[in-house]
Protein backbone atom coordinates (compact mmCIF):
# COMPACT_ATOMS: atom_id res chain seq x y z
CA UNK A 1 0.00 0.00 0.00
CA UNK A 2 2.79 2.34 1.01
CA UNK A 3 4.73 1.41 -2.09
CA UNK A 4 1.75 2.31 -4.23
CA UNK A 5 1.60 5.79 -2.77
CA UNK A 6 5.30 6.22 -3.37
CA UNK A 7 4.80 5.40 -7.01
CA UNK A 8 2.03 7.86 -7.47
CA UNK A 9 4.10 10.52 -5.77
CA UNK A 10 7.20 9.92 -7.79
CA UNK A 11 8.60 12.42 -10.25
CA UNK A 12 6.50 10.85 -12.96
CA UNK A 13 3.28 11.83 -11.28
CA UNK A 14 2.40 14.43 -13.88
CA UNK A 15 2.78 11.85 -16.60
CA UNK A 16 0.76 9.33 -14.63
CA UNK A 17 -1.92 11.90 -14.04
CA UNK A 18 -2.25 12.65 -17.70
CA UNK A 19 -3.06 9.03 -18.37
CA UNK A 20 -5.65 8.71 -15.64
CA UNK A 21 -9.26 9.64 -16.29
CA UNK A 22 -10.21 13.04 -14.94
CA UNK A 23 -12.82 13.33 -12.23
CA UNK A 24 -15.29 14.69 -14.76
CA UNK A 25 -14.78 11.65 -16.96
CA UNK A 26 -15.40 9.43 -13.96
CA UNK A 27 -18.61 11.26 -13.09
CA UNK A 28 -19.81 10.87 -16.64
CA UNK A 29 -19.02 7.17 -16.57
CA UNK A 30 -20.86 6.80 -13.25
CA UNK A 31 -23.86 8.54 -14.78
CA UNK A 32 -23.69 6.02 -17.59
CA UNK A 33 -23.86 3.19 -15.06
CA UNK A 34 -20.23 2.01 -15.19
CA UNK A 35 -19.43 0.64 -11.76
CA UNK A 36 -15.67 0.45 -12.47
CA UNK A 37 -15.68 4.25 -12.55
CA UNK A 38 -17.10 4.27 -9.02
CA UNK A 39 -14.20 1.98 -8.08
CA UNK A 40 -11.70 4.49 -9.44
CA UNK A 41 -13.41 7.37 -7.68
CA UNK A 42 -13.28 5.27 -4.52
CA UNK A 43 -9.52 4.74 -4.91
CA UNK A 44 -9.13 8.45 -5.31
CA UNK A 45 -11.28 9.80 -2.51
CA UNK A 46 -12.43 7.07 -0.10
CA UNK A 47 -9.47 7.51 2.18
CA UNK A 48 -10.25 11.21 2.55
CA UNK A 49 -13.96 10.61 3.07
CA UNK A 50 -13.19 7.98 5.70
CA UNK A 51 -10.65 10.19 7.46
CA UNK A 52 -13.11 13.03 7.74
CA UNK A 53 -15.94 10.76 8.83
CA UNK A 54 -13.70 9.22 11.47
CA UNK A 55 -12.54 12.61 12.72
CA UNK A 56 -16.10 13.85 13.18
CA UNK A 57 -17.76 10.65 14.38
CA UNK A 58 -14.78 9.28 16.33
CA UNK A 59 -16.08 5.77 15.71
CA UNK A 60 -14.55 3.47 13.07
CA UNK A 61 -17.74 1.48 12.46
CA UNK A 62 -19.83 4.60 11.95
CA UNK A 63 -17.14 6.13 9.75
CA UNK A 64 -17.15 3.00 7.64
CA UNK A 65 -20.94 3.02 7.36
CA UNK A 66 -20.94 6.64 6.35
CA UNK A 67 -18.22 6.09 3.73
CA UNK A 68 -20.31 3.30 2.27
CA UNK A 69 -23.42 5.47 2.36
CA UNK A 70 -21.62 8.31 0.57
CA UNK A 71 -20.37 6.16 -2.29
CA UNK A 72 -23.66 4.35 -2.71
CA UNK A 73 -25.44 7.69 -2.80
CA UNK A 74 -23.08 8.88 -5.53
CA UNK A 75 -23.95 5.77 -7.48
CA UNK A 76 -27.71 6.00 -7.04
CA UNK A 77 -28.16 9.72 -7.49
CA UNK A 78 -25.12 11.30 -8.98
CA UNK A 79 -25.86 14.93 -8.24
CA UNK A 80 -22.39 16.35 -8.59
CA UNK A 81 -22.28 19.52 -10.62
CA UNK A 82 -18.77 20.46 -11.79
CA UNK A 83 -19.83 24.08 -12.15
CA UNK A 84 -20.23 24.28 -8.40
CA UNK A 85 -16.74 23.24 -7.43
CA UNK A 86 -14.24 20.41 -7.27
CA UNK A 87 -15.07 16.77 -6.61
CA UNK A 88 -13.03 16.95 -3.45
CA UNK A 89 -14.94 19.92 -2.08
CA UNK A 90 -18.27 18.32 -3.06
CA UNK A 91 -17.39 15.10 -1.23
CA UNK A 92 -16.09 16.89 1.85
CA UNK A 93 -19.21 19.04 2.11
CA UNK A 94 -21.43 15.99 1.74
CA UNK A 95 -19.44 13.87 4.20
CA UNK A 96 -19.20 16.60 6.78
CA UNK A 97 -22.84 17.52 6.63
CA UNK A 98 -23.95 13.87 6.90
CA UNK A 99 -21.46 13.14 9.67
CA UNK A 100 -22.64 16.12 11.68
CA UNK A 101 -26.22 14.98 11.01
CA UNK A 102 -25.33 11.67 12.60
CA UNK A 103 -23.76 13.41 15.56
CA UNK A 104 -26.99 15.33 16.05
CA UNK A 105 -28.99 12.16 15.73
CA UNK A 106 -26.95 10.82 18.61
CA UNK A 107 -28.51 13.56 20.65
CA UNK A 108 -25.56 15.84 20.78
CA UNK A 109 -26.76 19.38 20.77
CA UNK A 110 -24.72 20.71 17.92
CA UNK A 111 -25.57 23.47 15.60
CA UNK A 112 -25.06 23.14 11.93
CA UNK A 113 -22.68 25.34 10.15
CA UNK A 114 -24.94 27.15 7.83
CA UNK A 115 -25.41 27.37 4.14
CA UNK A 116 -22.19 25.81 3.13
CA UNK A 117 -22.28 25.13 -0.47
CA UNK A 118 -25.71 25.18 -2.02
CA UNK A 119 -25.44 28.57 -3.58
CA UNK A 120 -23.48 30.19 -6.25
CA UNK A 121 -22.46 28.79 -9.54
CA UNK A 122 -19.03 29.36 -10.87
CA UNK A 123 -17.28 28.67 -14.11
CA UNK A 124 -15.02 25.68 -14.46
CA UNK A 125 -11.41 26.61 -14.98
CA UNK A 126 -8.27 24.82 -16.14
CA UNK A 127 -6.80 22.30 -13.70
CA UNK A 128 -4.76 23.75 -10.85
CA UNK A 129 -1.61 22.14 -9.41
CA UNK A 130 -3.92 20.95 -6.66
CA UNK A 131 -6.10 19.02 -9.09
CA UNK A 132 -3.03 17.41 -10.61
CA UNK A 133 -1.56 16.38 -7.26
CA UNK A 134 -1.84 13.06 -5.52
CA UNK A 135 -3.60 12.63 -2.20
CA UNK A 136 -0.41 12.68 -0.18
CA UNK A 137 0.91 15.73 -2.02
CA UNK A 138 -2.36 17.47 -1.24
CA UNK A 139 -2.13 16.44 2.40
CA UNK A 140 1.38 17.76 2.62
CA UNK A 141 0.45 21.17 1.19
CA UNK A 142 -2.65 21.61 3.32
CA UNK A 143 -0.83 20.49 6.44
CA UNK A 144 1.94 22.97 5.97
CA UNK A 145 -0.54 25.76 5.12
CA UNK A 146 -2.48 25.04 8.31
CA UNK A 147 0.71 24.81 10.35
CA UNK A 148 1.58 28.35 9.30
CA UNK A 149 -1.61 29.73 10.87
CA UNK A 150 -1.52 31.21 14.36
CA UNK A 151 -2.71 28.44 16.66
CA UNK A 152 -5.74 30.47 17.76
CA UNK A 153 -6.96 30.77 14.16
CA UNK A 154 -6.35 27.13 13.46
CA UNK A 155 -8.13 26.03 16.62
CA UNK A 156 -11.35 27.96 15.94
CA UNK A 157 -11.40 26.86 12.33
CA UNK A 158 -11.13 23.23 13.38
CA UNK A 159 -13.77 23.57 16.06
CA UNK A 160 -16.19 25.08 13.56
CA UNK A 161 -15.35 22.63 10.82
CA UNK A 162 -15.09 19.31 12.60
CA UNK A 163 -17.32 19.81 15.59
CA UNK A 164 -20.02 21.77 13.84
CA UNK A 165 -19.90 24.39 16.57
CA UNK A 166 -21.29 27.86 16.02
CA UNK A 167 -19.05 30.83 16.67
CA UNK A 168 -20.93 31.68 19.85
CA UNK A 169 -20.59 28.12 21.12
CA UNK A 170 -16.86 28.32 20.46
CA UNK A 171 -16.72 31.67 22.25
CA UNK A 172 -18.44 30.11 25.27
CA UNK A 173 -16.21 27.05 25.30
CA UNK A 174 -12.99 29.04 25.06
CA UNK A 175 -14.31 31.88 27.20
CA UNK A 176 -13.25 34.44 24.62
CA UNK A 177 -15.41 37.30 23.25
CA UNK A 178 -17.50 36.41 20.19
CA UNK A 179 -15.99 39.25 18.14
CA UNK A 180 -12.51 37.84 18.64
CA UNK A 181 -13.61 34.34 17.65
CA UNK A 182 -15.14 35.67 14.44
CA UNK A 183 -11.99 37.60 13.60
CA UNK A 184 -9.82 34.55 14.26
CA UNK A 185 -11.87 32.20 12.14
CA UNK A 186 -12.31 34.61 9.25
CA UNK A 187 -8.65 35.60 9.26
CA UNK A 188 -7.76 31.94 9.62
CA UNK A 189 -9.68 31.04 6.48
CA UNK A 190 -8.27 33.98 4.51
CA UNK A 191 -4.73 33.16 5.65
CA UNK A 192 -5.23 29.55 4.73
CA UNK A 193 -6.12 30.62 1.24
CA UNK A 194 -3.11 32.92 1.11
CA UNK A 195 -0.84 30.07 2.21
CA UNK A 196 -2.30 27.75 -0.42
CA UNK A 197 -2.54 30.32 -3.18
CA UNK A 198 0.15 28.93 -5.47
CA UNK A 199 -1.24 25.46 -5.09
CA UNK A 200 -4.92 26.06 -5.78
CA UNK A 201 -4.95 28.84 -8.39
Amino acid sequence: MKQKHMDIDSADSSLTNQLLPTDIELWNAISAGQSEALGVLYERYASLVYRLALRILANPQEAEDLTQEIFLTLWRSNNYNPARGSTSSFLMTMTRSRAIDRLRARGTKLKFLQRWSQMMMTQTSPPTPFEMASLSQRSQHVNSALAQLPSSQRQVLEMAYYDGLSQSEIARQLNIPLGTIKTWSRQGLLNLRKNLKDFIE
Binding site: G33, L38, S86, L113, Q123, S166
Partner: protein, 245 residues
Protein backbone atom coordinates in the same frame (compact mmCIF):
# COMPACT_ATOMS: atom_id res chain seq x y z
CA UNK B 1 -13.30 43.69 -8.98
CA UNK B 2 -10.67 40.97 -8.89
CA UNK B 3 -9.51 39.01 -5.93
CA UNK B 4 -6.31 40.98 -5.61
CA UNK B 5 -8.12 44.27 -5.38
CA UNK B 6 -10.78 43.08 -2.94
CA UNK B 7 -10.97 45.44 0.00
CA UNK B 8 -10.25 43.75 3.31
CA UNK B 9 -13.74 44.43 4.54
CA UNK B 10 -15.28 42.58 1.60
CA UNK B 11 -12.89 39.67 2.03
CA UNK B 12 -13.77 39.45 5.68
CA UNK B 13 -17.50 39.47 4.95
CA UNK B 14 -17.12 36.74 2.39
CA UNK B 15 -15.09 34.66 4.84
CA UNK B 16 -17.85 35.18 7.39
CA UNK B 17 -20.42 34.11 4.84
CA UNK B 18 -18.52 30.94 3.97
CA UNK B 19 -18.08 30.18 7.67
CA UNK B 20 -21.74 30.95 8.31
CA UNK B 21 -21.09 33.51 11.04
CA UNK B 22 -22.41 36.78 9.61
CA UNK B 23 -24.47 39.03 11.85
CA UNK B 24 -27.72 40.21 10.31
CA UNK B 25 -26.20 43.63 9.74
CA UNK B 26 -23.23 42.10 7.93
CA UNK B 27 -25.51 39.81 5.94
CA UNK B 28 -27.42 42.85 4.67
CA UNK B 29 -24.20 44.57 3.74
CA UNK B 30 -23.01 41.52 1.83
CA UNK B 31 -26.34 41.03 0.08
CA UNK B 32 -26.00 44.56 -1.22
CA UNK B 33 -22.44 43.87 -2.36
CA UNK B 34 -23.54 40.68 -4.14
CA UNK B 35 -26.21 42.63 -5.99
CA UNK B 36 -23.70 45.25 -7.08
CA UNK B 37 -20.90 42.82 -7.88
CA UNK B 38 -22.26 39.44 -8.99
CA UNK B 39 -18.69 38.37 -9.73
CA UNK B 40 -18.19 38.04 -5.97
CA UNK B 41 -20.00 34.72 -6.27
CA UNK B 42 -16.75 33.29 -7.61
CA UNK B 43 -14.91 34.57 -4.60
CA UNK B 44 -17.39 32.79 -2.32
CA UNK B 45 -16.85 29.62 -4.22
CA UNK B 46 -13.07 29.84 -4.07
CA UNK B 47 -13.08 30.39 -0.36
CA UNK B 48 -15.48 27.53 0.13
CA UNK B 49 -13.09 25.28 -1.79
CA UNK B 50 -10.29 26.38 0.55
CA UNK B 51 -12.34 25.55 3.63
CA UNK B 52 -13.15 22.11 2.28
CA UNK B 53 -9.44 21.37 1.92
CA UNK B 54 -9.10 21.11 5.69
CA UNK B 55 -9.63 17.33 5.87
CA UNK B 56 -6.50 16.82 3.78
CA UNK B 57 -4.54 17.75 6.88
CA UNK B 58 -6.06 14.93 8.92
CA UNK B 59 -3.67 12.11 9.81
CA UNK B 60 -3.73 9.26 7.34
CA UNK B 61 -5.74 6.28 8.54
CA UNK B 62 -5.88 2.97 6.74
CA UNK B 63 -9.19 2.28 5.05
CA UNK B 64 -10.95 -0.88 6.16
CA UNK B 65 -9.75 -3.50 3.67
CA UNK B 66 -13.14 -4.95 2.81
CA UNK B 67 -14.95 -1.62 2.33
CA UNK B 68 -14.28 -1.19 -1.37
CA UNK B 69 -15.52 -4.70 -2.08
CA UNK B 70 -18.65 -4.21 0.01
CA UNK B 71 -19.52 -1.00 -1.81
CA UNK B 72 -18.88 -2.30 -5.31
CA UNK B 73 -20.80 -5.49 -4.63
CA UNK B 74 -23.73 -3.49 -3.32
CA UNK B 75 -23.60 -1.44 -6.49
CA UNK B 76 -23.44 -4.43 -8.78
CA UNK B 77 -26.36 -6.29 -7.23
CA UNK B 78 -28.52 -3.30 -6.41
CA UNK B 79 -29.35 -2.30 -9.93
CA UNK B 80 -28.87 -3.34 -13.45
CA UNK B 81 -26.94 -0.24 -14.38
CA UNK B 82 -29.22 2.23 -16.03
CA UNK B 83 -27.82 5.18 -17.84
CA UNK B 84 -28.81 8.26 -15.98
CA UNK B 85 -27.59 11.06 -18.17
CA UNK B 86 -27.54 14.38 -16.46
CA UNK B 87 -30.29 16.58 -17.71
CA UNK B 88 -28.05 19.53 -18.40
CA UNK B 89 -25.63 17.37 -20.31
CA UNK B 90 -28.41 15.84 -22.32
CA UNK B 91 -29.91 19.20 -23.10
CA UNK B 92 -26.51 20.44 -24.11
CA UNK B 93 -26.05 17.47 -26.41
CA UNK B 94 -29.40 18.13 -27.98
CA UNK B 95 -28.62 21.77 -28.49
CA UNK B 96 -25.16 21.05 -29.82
CA UNK B 97 -26.72 18.41 -32.04
CA UNK B 98 -29.21 20.78 -33.52
CA UNK B 99 -26.55 23.41 -34.05
CA UNK B 100 -24.43 20.84 -35.84
CA UNK B 101 -27.41 19.81 -37.96
CA UNK B 102 -28.08 23.41 -38.79
CA UNK B 103 -24.45 23.94 -39.77
CA UNK B 104 -24.53 20.91 -42.02
CA UNK B 105 -27.68 22.22 -43.59
CA UNK B 106 -26.32 25.68 -44.15
CA UNK B 107 -22.94 24.51 -45.37
CA UNK B 108 -24.59 21.90 -47.54
CA UNK B 109 -27.00 24.35 -49.07
CA UNK B 110 -24.24 26.82 -49.66
CA UNK B 111 -22.13 24.17 -51.32
CA UNK B 112 -22.72 25.47 -54.80
CA UNK B 113 -21.52 28.92 -53.85
CA UNK B 114 -18.56 27.47 -52.01
CA UNK B 115 -17.32 25.68 -55.07
CA UNK B 116 -17.64 28.83 -57.13
CA UNK B 117 -16.03 31.27 -54.77
CA UNK B 118 -12.90 30.28 -53.00
CA UNK B 119 -12.96 33.34 -50.79
CA UNK B 120 -16.43 32.43 -49.67
CA UNK B 121 -15.18 28.96 -48.87
CA UNK B 122 -12.46 30.39 -46.70
CA UNK B 123 -14.89 32.69 -44.95
CA UNK B 124 -17.33 29.86 -44.35
CA UNK B 125 -14.59 27.60 -43.02
CA UNK B 126 -13.36 30.36 -40.75
CA UNK B 127 -16.84 30.97 -39.45
CA UNK B 128 -17.39 27.28 -38.99
CA UNK B 129 -14.12 27.05 -37.08
CA UNK B 130 -15.24 29.95 -34.96
CA UNK B 131 -18.48 28.22 -34.13
CA UNK B 132 -16.74 24.95 -33.34
CA UNK B 133 -14.16 26.73 -31.19
CA UNK B 134 -16.97 28.47 -29.34
CA UNK B 135 -18.92 25.25 -28.90
CA UNK B 136 -15.84 23.66 -27.34
CA UNK B 137 -15.64 26.41 -24.75
CA UNK B 138 -17.32 25.17 -21.60
CA UNK B 139 -18.70 28.64 -20.85
CA UNK B 140 -20.47 28.95 -24.16
CA UNK B 141 -24.22 28.98 -24.15
CA UNK B 142 -26.82 28.97 -26.85
CA UNK B 143 -29.69 31.38 -27.00
CA UNK B 144 -32.42 30.22 -29.30
CA UNK B 145 -34.31 32.67 -31.48
CA UNK B 146 -37.86 32.17 -32.75
CA UNK B 147 -39.40 33.89 -35.71
CA UNK B 148 -42.57 35.97 -35.72
CA UNK B 149 -44.66 38.10 -38.11
CA UNK B 150 -43.26 37.93 -41.66
CA UNK B 151 -40.53 35.58 -40.44
CA UNK B 152 -42.70 33.24 -38.43
CA UNK B 153 -40.97 30.13 -39.85
CA UNK B 154 -37.50 31.40 -39.02
CA UNK B 155 -35.52 29.73 -36.24
CA UNK B 156 -31.97 29.50 -35.01
CA UNK B 157 -29.51 30.25 -32.26
CA UNK B 158 -26.95 32.70 -31.08
CA UNK B 159 -23.76 31.17 -29.68
CA UNK B 160 -22.44 33.39 -26.89
CA UNK B 161 -19.35 33.04 -24.74
CA UNK B 162 -18.60 35.18 -21.69
CA UNK B 163 -15.45 37.18 -22.36
CA UNK B 164 -15.85 36.88 -26.14
CA UNK B 165 -16.71 40.20 -27.76
CA UNK B 166 -18.42 38.45 -30.66
CA UNK B 167 -21.28 36.02 -30.90
CA UNK B 168 -22.21 33.74 -33.76
CA UNK B 169 -25.67 33.95 -35.26
CA UNK B 170 -27.05 30.86 -37.00
CA UNK B 171 -30.50 31.18 -38.52
CA UNK B 172 -32.63 29.49 -41.13
CA UNK B 173 -35.93 30.01 -42.98
CA UNK B 174 -35.52 33.75 -42.89
CA UNK B 175 -37.29 35.61 -45.75
CA UNK B 176 -34.94 37.36 -48.18
CA UNK B 177 -35.51 41.08 -47.76
CA UNK B 178 -36.06 43.54 -50.61
CA UNK B 179 -33.10 45.73 -51.50
CA UNK B 180 -32.55 48.56 -49.02
CA UNK B 181 -33.78 46.60 -46.03
CA UNK B 182 -31.62 44.84 -43.44
CA UNK B 183 -32.04 42.54 -40.52
CA UNK B 184 -30.79 44.19 -37.35
CA UNK B 185 -29.80 42.31 -34.20
CA UNK B 186 -30.46 44.03 -30.86
CA UNK B 187 -29.10 42.91 -27.50
CA UNK B 188 -31.30 43.76 -24.54
CA UNK B 189 -29.13 45.09 -21.69
CA UNK B 190 -30.80 46.62 -18.66
CA UNK B 191 -34.04 46.85 -20.60
CA UNK B 192 -32.40 48.82 -23.40
CA UNK B 193 -31.92 47.55 -26.91
CA UNK B 194 -28.30 47.92 -28.02
CA UNK B 195 -27.66 47.64 -31.80
CA UNK B 196 -25.50 44.55 -32.33
CA UNK B 197 -24.99 44.33 -36.06
CA UNK B 198 -26.83 43.98 -39.36
CA UNK B 199 -27.08 41.05 -41.68
CA UNK B 200 -28.97 39.64 -44.61
CA UNK B 201 -30.21 36.16 -45.28
CA UNK B 202 -28.68 34.15 -48.10
CA UNK B 203 -30.89 33.39 -51.08
CA UNK B 204 -31.85 30.21 -49.21
CA UNK B 205 -32.88 32.07 -46.11
CA UNK B 206 -29.89 31.06 -44.03
CA UNK B 207 -27.55 33.18 -41.91
CA UNK B 208 -24.19 32.29 -40.41
CA UNK B 209 -22.44 35.38 -39.17
CA UNK B 210 -20.32 36.68 -36.32
CA UNK B 211 -21.48 39.90 -34.73
CA UNK B 212 -20.20 42.11 -31.93
CA UNK B 213 -22.46 41.84 -28.92
CA UNK B 214 -22.32 43.24 -25.38
CA UNK B 215 -20.80 40.90 -22.74
CA UNK B 216 -22.76 37.64 -22.68
CA UNK B 217 -23.36 37.92 -18.94
CA UNK B 218 -25.17 41.23 -19.36
CA UNK B 219 -27.42 40.29 -22.26
CA UNK B 220 -30.95 39.65 -21.05
CA UNK B 221 -32.48 39.03 -24.44
CA UNK B 222 -32.01 39.26 -28.18
CA UNK B 223 -34.32 40.70 -30.80
CA UNK B 224 -34.16 40.93 -34.60
CA UNK B 225 -35.97 43.69 -36.45
CA UNK B 226 -36.18 44.74 -40.10
CA UNK B 227 -34.67 48.17 -40.62
CA UNK B 228 -34.10 50.50 -43.55
CA UNK B 229 -31.45 52.66 -41.92
CA UNK B 230 -27.96 51.15 -42.16
CA UNK B 231 -27.07 52.14 -38.58
CA UNK B 232 -30.21 52.67 -36.49
CA UNK B 233 -29.83 53.76 -32.87
CA UNK B 234 -33.15 52.29 -31.82
CA UNK B 235 -35.54 49.85 -33.47
CA UNK B 236 -38.04 51.43 -35.82
CA UNK B 237 -38.98 48.49 -38.04
CA UNK B 238 -41.08 45.42 -37.21
CA UNK B 239 -39.75 42.76 -34.83
CA UNK B 240 -39.25 39.45 -36.68
CA UNK B 241 -37.33 37.29 -34.22
CA UNK B 242 -36.95 37.16 -30.48
CA UNK B 243 -35.08 35.07 -27.92
CA UNK B 244 -36.87 33.22 -25.21
CA UNK B 245 -34.34 34.19 -22.55
Amino acid sequence: MTERELPERVEELIAGYVLGDLSSFEAEELTRLFAEHPELAQEVNRLHEVLELMPYALPEVPLPQHLRKVILEAVDVSIIPQPRPKRSLKMWRNLAGSIAALLVLILGLDNYNLRQHLSTVQAQVDRQKDVIAMLQNSDTHLVSLKGMNVAKNAAGSVVMTPGEPQSVLILQNLPVLPKGQFYQLWSVVNGEKIPSGQFNASSRGTVLIKLSTPPATEVQGLVVTVEVSPAPHSPSGPMVMTSNL
